[in-house]
Structure formats: structure tokens, C-alpha cells
């Protein structure tokens, strides 16, 4: 999406800026409404502690969703993220506990592996001409199996104090995962909006053939996007493993749906070419807030599922409505 905010470079008032943002991040309105509702129903919701709490909870999915934004903008998809979380988590735990690795190794190696798996996904799907759905369905299964194999079917626990900082540490009052998450959102936003790489992601997602004819090395960018996603999935794996103080075998199962949902709720088109990472931030927060709010309210499990599903649909509908009113 073109970014009127930055590119116009004319002075815009704060109010205007807000409205531009509002427009760009469609779901914002719905998000605010949901928050206000929860705030009314259960005052503790707006407690700063709770707010940090929610963002921290969201960060595990959120970090991956940032990477998924790149891939979906390209018109792709990645189902293997959950398996990458588990696999890199186990590797990190392994280096921490079993293979006597240093803090450095148990962070760097999982990140490299994550990036490597992402690269593989991108490489097979572009060079083999396969839809990433199939390729990542395959790697999803492969790396879930690999996780169990490496761990010999048992979780690996007992991380070092320093490693635990990644998921459980605080910088001042702010949990470290929150910093990682928001940091990756900001970096991704800058990449998408200000760099050639980012612009080409939009171009390829918008019309691959035209992008190719314009001289863009489409394959290279696609592979890069998958690599970024793999890397961020590994980062999420580190956060999770560190938070749980344990490399879990079932970690990340079903994450792909939550992650893709965050991106799509945030307004990025499944067809590619449209959207952005701020939307993803709101999308991920919305999902997190719904579940947090319902927990605070003590809504019964069955009803939680029903309410959650309904809020998601209503929220995106509201976004659409708003747009309709505006253009009318």
C-alpha cells in the first residue's frame, strides 16, 4: 500500500495523522471498541500490568506474525512456523542442557536453523514451482517429526539463568519479549515502507508477472521473505523455550492459524500486495486481548470459543462497514 503518511512529507497535524493511521489500519477501530468494552466489563483490564501482560502473551505469536506479513504480502503462506518454533526450541534447549553449548550457541544456532528452514521453504517453492501451501505442509510434518527425534520424545528442561532472560527478563518495567516483538514490528515496518526490498515485496505480491518484467528478481525476494519468517519463527521458539524453561515437543502446534489470522485480521490481503505490519500488530493484539478479556471475565470455556469466533467476525465486518461509510 502506498504510504501517504511518509511520502507526502507535508506537515500533518496530529489529529490528521491519527485519521490517516486509522484508515491504514482498518481494524484499529474494532480493536479500540473491543478494548473499551472489556475495560467497562472488568476494570482490571486497563491495569498497566495487564496491558504489559497481554502484549507479552501476544509476543510469541506476534513475532512470527511479523514475518508472516512478508510472506502473505507476497501472496504466499507458511504452515511450518509452529514446527519451526518447536524444532528451534528443542535445539536451543539441547544446547543449553545436553550438548553443553554456550548461551551464544544456544541462541545463534537455532536462529540460523530457523532461517535455514525458511530458506528451504522458499527455495523449494520458487525453484520447484510449487505452491508454498504444499511445501510448508510438508516441512511442517518433517520438522515436527525431527523435533521428537532430536528430543527422543521427551521435553528438555533446565535452562541457564541468562538464557531465561530472553523470555522472562525485564528491561525496566517492560518484559524483554515485548521489546523483541515491538522491535521487530518497527524494523519490519521500516523495511516494508522505506527500502527497495519492501517495495518489491508489495510489487511482487501485487502482480508477479509485471514485477518480473520490470526486472525484479522475484525468486530472490520470495526466498528472502521466507527466510525472514523462518528466522522470526526461531526467535519465537527461543522466547517460548526460555519462558517455559523447557523445550517442549508440542510447542507451536496450531500456531500457523493464529499467526495467519493475526496477519489477515490486520488487513493484509491473502492475495498479496496489500497490507502492512502495523495491521498485523493490531490483529495479533486483538486476538490476545479477546482471550485475555474473556479470561478476566471468567467466561466459561465453551462460551469462550463461541464468543471469540463471533468477535473476530464482527471486528473485521466493522472494519469493512467503516470503509463503506467513508466512501459513500
Amino acid at each position: 500500500m502506498p504510504e501517504p503518511l511518509e511520502t507526502k512529507k507535508e506537515k500533518v497535524s496530529l489529529v490528521e495523522r491519527f485519521f490517516i493511521l486509522w484508515d491504514r489500519i482498518g481494524i484499529l477501530l474494532a480493536f479500540i471498541v473491543v478494548c473499551i468494552l472489556f475495560g467497562i466489563l472488568t476494570p482490571v483490564f486497563f491495569n498497566p500490568l495487564n496491558i504489559l501482560n497481554v502484549i507479552r502473551q501476544v509476543s510469541i505469536i506476534g513475532v512470527i506474525a511479523v514475518g508472516m506479513t512478508f510472506v502473505i504480502l507476497l501472496g504466499g503462506i507458511d504452515l511450518s512456523v509452529g514446527s519451526v518454533v518447536a524444532f528451534t526450541g528443542i535445539i536451543a534447549a539441547g544446547f543449553q542442557v545436553k550438548w553443553g553449548g554456550s548461551l551464544f550457541l544456544s541462541i545463534v544456532i537455532p536462529l540460523l536453523i530457523g532461517g535455514g528452514i525458511g530458506f528451504l521453504n522458499g527455495f523449494i517453492s520458487t525453484k520447484g514451482g510449487l505452491h508454498p501451501f504444499i511445501v510448508t505442509l510438508g516441512t511442517m510434518s518433517i520438522f515436527r517429526g525431527a523435533t521428537l527425534l532430536v528430543a527422543k520424545g521427551r521435553p528438555i528442561s533446565g535452562m541457564s539463568r541468562s538464557f531465561r532472560f530472553i523470555g522472562a527478563g525485564m528491561i525496566g518495567p517492560i518484559p524483554f519479549p515485548v521489546i523483541l516483538f515491538l522491535g521487530s514490528v518497527i524494523i519490519a515496518a521500516i523495511i516494508l515502507r522505506r527500502t527497495v526490498f519492501g517495495r518489491y515485496i508489495y510489487a511482487i505480491g501485487g502482480n508477479e508477472e509485471a514485477a518480473l518484467l520490470s526486472g525484479i528478481r522475484v525468486d530472490r525476494y520470495k526466498i528472502s521473505a521466507f527466510t525472514i519468517l523462518g528466522f522470526l519463527s526461531a526467535l519465537s521458539g527461543l522466547i517460548l523455550t526460555s519462558r517455559l524453561n523447557s523445550g517442549e515437543l508440542v510447542a507451536g502446534e496450531g500456531y500457523e492459524l493464529d499467526v495467519i489470522a493475526s496477519v489477515v485480521i490486520g488487513g493484509t490481503s491473502m492475495m498479496g500486495g496489500e497490507g502492512g505490519v502495523y495491521g498485523t500488530l493490531i490483529g495479533a493484539l486483538l486476538i490476545g486481548v479477546i482471550s485475555n478479556g474473556l479470561n478476566l471475565l471468567g467466561v466459561q470455556p465453551y462460551w469462550q470459543m463461541i464468543v471469540r469466533g463471533s468477535i473476530i467476525i464482527l471486528a473485521v465486518l466493522m472494519d469493512k462497514m467503516k470503509r463503506r461509510f467513508r466512501t459513500a
Binding site: 500500500m1 502506498p2 501517504p4 511518509e6 511520502t7 507526502k8 512529507k9 522505506r194 527500502t195 527497495v196 526490498f197 517495495r199 518489491y200 508489495y202 510489487a203 501485487g206 502482480n207 508477472e209 509485471a210 514485477a211 518480473l212 518484467l213 520490470s214 526486472g215 525484479i216 528478481r217 500486495g273 496489500e274 466512501t327
Partner: protein
Amino acid sequence: MEEVILEFDKLTKKFPGVVALDEVSFDIFRGEVHALVGENGAGKSTLIKIVTGVYQKTSGEVFYQGKSINFRSPHDALQNGIAAIYQEFNLIPALTVAENIFMGHHFVRGKFVDWKKMEEEARKLLDFLEVDIDVNSRVRDLGVAKKQVIEIAKALSHNAKVLIMDEPTAALAQKEIKTLFRIIRFLKESGVTIIYISHRLEEVYEICDRVTVLRDGKFVATKPVKELKVEELIRMMVGREVGERFPRVSHTIGEEVLRVEGLTRPGVLENINISLHQREILGIAGMVGSGRTELLRAIYGVDPWEEGKIFIRGEEVKITSPPEAISLGIALLPEERKTQGLILLLSVLDNLGLPILPNIANAGFIDEDRLKQIGEEMVEAMNIKTPSLYQRVMYLSGGNQQKVVLGKWFARKCDIYLFDEPTRGIDVGAKVEIYQLMNRLVSEGAAIIMVSSELPEILAMSDRILVMREGKIAGEVNREEANQELILNLALGGKNHYARTP
């Protein structure tokens, strides 16, 4: 007294930031061929899309056969006997020609599609249009011209009372246009009303009874064609005097920059030899499907080819992808703007900047000011009508979109430009500007290959003309000796030019 079939009364259509139609009032008689002309972005396509229910009007009225209408979808319009050929193709690439022609009103026998009948009828229609297209081939395997013919067949298949044609000839060559006109006359005889939009004013004079001029969304005039001189018509459209239609400046041809030797792609291209020089415009003429597009794509590295050699500035090169071609200083302007030329979702600025981004970036970061400056220059130079640089190109009029595709490559300096139907859908005034830009490129040392189905353009702008037929170079004509008959003769080869070697 003529009977009015369609009447527009203060018809207004507003898009965010644009008034596409501003209180337009005029009427159309039953059984006439009514031309609708105007500059790019004047509101022609918008007007017809309101008639067919694609867009909803903002205010005003449309009367059809005396009744006020407000169709909600093309379905309603078709039900009421109004069919249209839209400016952009609306075909389903993966389906066959026959199915595309009868899309929306398949023949059925009982509950099932009657394939046989459909193929038969499709074949009949195509025969009527005098083209030889296999009704079972898929639309995606066809060139632009054939797609255009399919669109025409599709519109005819409805037996409509009102047939709207938005630039039906933009992709057609002489021969097909002749057939189309014959059909239009035939339809007119049988009482069909035709609204005809075109930027080729000769056609308006040849086929139309009355002409309505729009400018900037406003109604200018409706006149019988006979009472209107071309100069006057152009002045009404553009609002000013347009100088020479083909402003050619002569330039001294330099050394050879591109040589193609024996390029062959079985069934498509056969033993092509080309030599292109600095400061030269090489025109390529030919009939539909003669392989001109394929030739440009082969040079650009999009499609693979089997035999032959390509030399750039004397050195043999192997180009296997567009990025490689670009790094060698070659640019291609593809023939289908919507699917190959533009990223519709992106803004005018982003589209214009696409090929040049790496050149104006520091460490990967785009120099936004520089980009904006280039964008403004291009919009100015090409006279692109857009509310802002940040408008998505999908909301521009067809002609303005084409200008963006052109601007994309004008913005980036290349040595060799391959232009495939560069002025498709562009209005008279803007064409002149584009020719001037081409002149400037050439005078700065570039070389251009221009494929075009518009013979006057080829004749006027080329230094040399190659004529293709059935994938081969049928002949080369010098600028001095070139004329319509000679080129047509070469292109037709004296026999049925559609016959393709299997």
C-alpha cells in the same frame, strides 16, 4: 424524427477525489453508430460502465427506451439487451475460446452444458468475424489481438439491442478492423445501436454517424460526423490546437547496438535476423499473431528460444531473464498493461519507480524525495491525469494507465527499448507527447524497436521497418520507400495470413 434509445440527463459520477462525469446530458438514437471521444480520463469508460451497471451513478438519470434505468449489475444490463466490450479484457484465461464467448449464457441441453452446440455457434461467430481461432484452445495461449477478437465475438453472442464498444480496435491490425467495420455496418442494418469509443479518429469518420465529445468529465458537443472537421474535433477534445500528429526529427544513425542472428523458437519464431543501431527507431509491422510480441519477449529473456545468437554492442550474450536484460540496458514495454505492465494495487508513483528504485536508494533505503521528483517529472511530461501521485493505478483511466507503463521506462535510462504497442489506448494529444519523448530518447543515443499495429504510426516514426509474417521476417522496408500497400502486401504474403503452420 429519430427515435431516442438512450438518454443521459445530468449524469454525474464522483470517485473519491475525482469527478469523472459532471452533469453530462445527451442522447443516442436507435440504430445509429454513435462515437464517444475525448482525452484519456475524459469519462468515456465511466459513462458506459454506468449504463451497464458496473458503477452506480452519483446523480442524474439514464433513460433507456424511455424508462429510467439503474442497473445494479451487468447481469441486469444484459437481460435488458445491453452488451458491452470493455476497454480491458474480461476473459477467463484457463477456459476455452468457445466457453469464453458464451460465458454467462452457456447453451444447455436439459441440465447439462451443450458443448457441441456451443462450439458450433462459437465457430460460426468466429467465421463471421473472419478469424481462424481454434474454439477449443485456451484463451491464455492467445495473443492480445486474438483476445480482442474473442471479446468482440462475446459481445456479439448476446444479440444485444445496444452494443457498446470501448476501444475495440486498440489491439487490432488493419485487416481485423476492416472486418469489424463490416460487421458494425451489418448490425446497424439490422437495427442494433452501437456506441463506439476510439482514439483513432479515422475510424470515427469511417464508421460513425454522430459523435459526442467529452472533456474532463463534461459534455462538450454532439454533432453529426459529416459536419465536423478532424481539426475541429481534436480541438473540442483537447481544448487546444495540436501540432503535427507525428513529430519526427531526423537523427544520424550510429553504430550497431543489438544484433539478432538466426533466432528460432519452433512454431513461433523462425530464423530471425535483426540489426539495430544507436539512434534508430526500428518499426516492426505484421498481422495478428505474426510473432512480433514473441520476438520482443525472446530478446528480453522472458520466453526461452532454441537456436540463434544475440549480440549486444558486438558481444554475444545469453539472456535468460528480464533482470539480466535490464542489466544489459534493455527495457521491454509489454503489450498487456493490466496483467504485464502494472501493479494495479500500487500507486502511480510506486509503479513509475519500479525499475529505478535500486538506482535511487542508499544502502537499500529509498530516496523518497528523489523518487517523488522523478514521479512528478513523468506525470508532467506524459500528461498523466491523476488526482495525485499516490492514487492507485487501478483507478486511472485506461489511457492514463498506459502512460504509466511508458513512464516507467522513460524514467530509467536504457540503451535499447523494446516497445510493444506503445500507444495503445492513448489519445491524440498525448500520442504526440509520447512521440516527442521517443525522439528525445533517440537523440540521447538510445535505440528503439517499436512493434505497432497502427500503420500510420509505424510509417511516420520508423527509420526502418521490418515486416513479420508467420514468425519470419517477411521483408525490410526503408523509410523512404515505405507505404501502406507495400507493408500490407508483405504482411499478408498474398495468402491467408491466419493459416498457421501446425
